[in-house]
């Protein structure tokens, strides 16, 4: 990935974590700003206008979710939140508040870079033209002609299955919460019917996954949501 000297703001109270991230990100060609508290983070965002924010939700002095909301009030820069395993509700809240993705501590550099790559790509896509074609290995989505093919063979999807797949496809690699999918596909009124998503997702997997119980494309993030795995996405198991 070409970092192009992009500026990353790391909001993290642990000195050791900041040291590791600084060394690793600078080695990848990123510029690096750091903040240890919510207050420092707000100052850093206004003065440096970073290209991406890496935000630890477990800050001692405040609420990372509130900070996410505040950043979103006037910046579209991708926000990646970092949290511990078992805090799924925090993750969902952060994502619904406008964060782009999350990482579970501890994470490896490959995983972080993969998430950053996806986030930058979406950021760029939002500003520019949307690509009408999505390719993930054998899976091919043509969003303009509403066609889905698997290894060159057309797959017949119901309208709802297509909407879900197209939504995930347009957000390739990005995690979408159950809420976000429900709202986009069914509308606000169905925001609590999360089993709708799950049932249709199961049907969708039967059509496009070779082994639906070991999906290659449609990955579940338990308790949070789904993502369409990118070709070079390191995934959660990485």
């Amino acid at each position: 990935m070409s970092a192009d000297g992009k500026l990353v703001l790391v909001v993290e109270d642990e000195v050791a974590m900041r040291r590791f991230l600084r060394a690793s990100l600078q080695a990848q060609g990123f510029r690096f700003v750091e903040a240890a508290t919510v207050r420092e983070a707000l100052v850093a965002i206004t003065t440096h206008n970073p290209d991406l924010v890496l935000l630890d939700l477990g800050l001692p002095d405040g609420d990372g979710i509130a900070l996410t909301r505040k950043i979103r009030e006037w910046s579209r820069a991708p926000i990646l939140v970092v949290s511990a395993r078992g805090r799924e509700s925090d993750k969902v809240e952060a994502l619904d508040a406008g964060a782009d993705d999350y990482l579970t501590k501890p994470f490896g550099m490959n995983e972080l870079l993969a998430r950053m790559r996806v986030a930058f790509r979406h950021h760029d896509a939002e500003l520019g033209e949307r690509a009408p074609l999505v390719d993930v290995g054998e899976l091919h989505l043509d969003l303009e002609r509403r066609r889905v093919t698997l290894a060159g063979v057309e797959v017949h999807l119901t309208p709802i299955e297509y909407r879900i797949l197209a939504l995930l496809g347009r957000n390739l690699g990005k995690l979408l919460t159950h809420q976000q999918i429900l709202t986009e596909v069914w509308g606000q009124a169905y925001a609590t019917h999360t089993h709708y998503v799950r049932v249709h997702m199961a049907e969708l997997r039967k059509k496009i996954e070779r082994e639906p119980a070991r999906p290659r494309f449609l990955v579940t993030e338990p308790g949070v949501g789904y993502r369409l795995r990118d070709r070079d996405d390191a995934g959660r198991g990485g």
Partner: protein, 512 residues
Amino acid sequence: MVRVAHSGRVGDAGRRGVVRPGGWTGYAVAMVLVAVASAAALIAEAVLALPDVALLYLAAIMLSAAWHGRGPSTFAAAASVAAFNFLLVEPRFTFEVAEPRYVLTFTMMFGVGLVISGLTSRLRTQQHEAEAREDKTHALYALGRALAAASGPTETMMVVALQARRAFATEVELIDAQAHRDAATDRDDVARPHAAAIATALTARRTTASSGALVVPLVAGDAVHGVLVLADPEPLRRPIDPDFLESFARQGATAIAQARASADAAQAEGRARAEEVRSTLLAAVSHDLRTPLAVITGAASTLRDERLAPDERDELLATVADEAERLERMIGNLLDMTRLHAGGVVLRAQWLPLEEVVGSALLRLERRLGERPVVVTLAREVPLLWVDAVLLEQALVNLLDNAIKYTPDHGEIELRSFVRGDVVVIQVLDRGPGLPAGLGPRAFEKFVRGDARHRDGFGLGLAICRAIVELHDGTIMAFVRDGGGACLEVTLPCRVDQPASAVDAPVVKEWA
């Protein structure tokens, strides 16, 4: 301290309207009775002979005796004689007696009056005593029954205090002797007025506090278990029977002593078990956490050496990553177990297809599985499950992780699910060494490892599984598999109220 304020003045004794001897009411009533008898006599005189009329007075004396006892009825006898003389015997309206035979009549009348008064009031006393005995027996029986239902020292003390209030019909405080001694300097406001008496009572003597309250120690064996403080009895009430009070106090004290003893025993047992778990945990932590740390520290310091060959460097880096991952797994397990045991886990159940949970568990284990193939067979009839996605995934990860431990590099692991009766069965099967003899259900206890050579973790994985499965009202078991290996089986309840099909939901948003 248990304090029971007596609300209202109607107690068992009070309701019977007992008036203590010396009350003026009895004499007033006697007066009225004699007056009524006199009026009746004056009317009856026209048709009856004088000796017959005298019988009316005897009736008045008897009533007075029955209602108010000896004093008032003796007064009634004297008043009757006087009234009889004054109103009915010639010369009328004087106390003079014309004929000497009336002196005999008066004496007889007074004497019979006294005898009737004596007999009636004795009968009355006996009846009251019988009633009081019955009350006491009833109160002790009620105490016994209420105590049998109480559990734990606090509840037992509460029961004693409540029953004391009912039995003695007065305001009651029950001071916990233990707590009182512990907090001698920090006494409750209510206890302070009786402090001196309580201090005396604590040395097992019944006393009366300066306020007039009765202070009774509850003694069982050699120990004073509490102090019962009965507020000053109201002046118009029957006095408290000391024997009854003692029986009551003894029964209450015995019950409190027993409740304390069994609570102490349970606490001691719990402490011993906790101590055992803690020492096992400490041993496990000190060894198992240090091993990966030692490897990481060693590898990191070696990596500083610039003369290392690139492949040696790669190997060391891989070791660091692996050991760190192992450490993370162990700490994760410890945290999960702690959280599950502390009761801090809230079940966020949702309708889920099992396939989805299996998928995410396998994805999480992708690296750990390596070259081991996993054969997944999920029966089509398996319904949606009402489960917590995160917790169930963790349970599956732990079950699979256990199978990985006992499966060689290219060995196959199987995961099956089907419906059996009204449960969904999930089985994880391996071809490892099976279950060591006698392990059976112990496999799911904390810090139990099937094979001591597998020092990868604390033996918490399956205990976490069990905790999660039980949180879902499910069961977990381990079997030896036909043809060798182990089968770990989880069952989860199949809910019949499956949600309405999502296909039926109308699409309200037109998608661009």
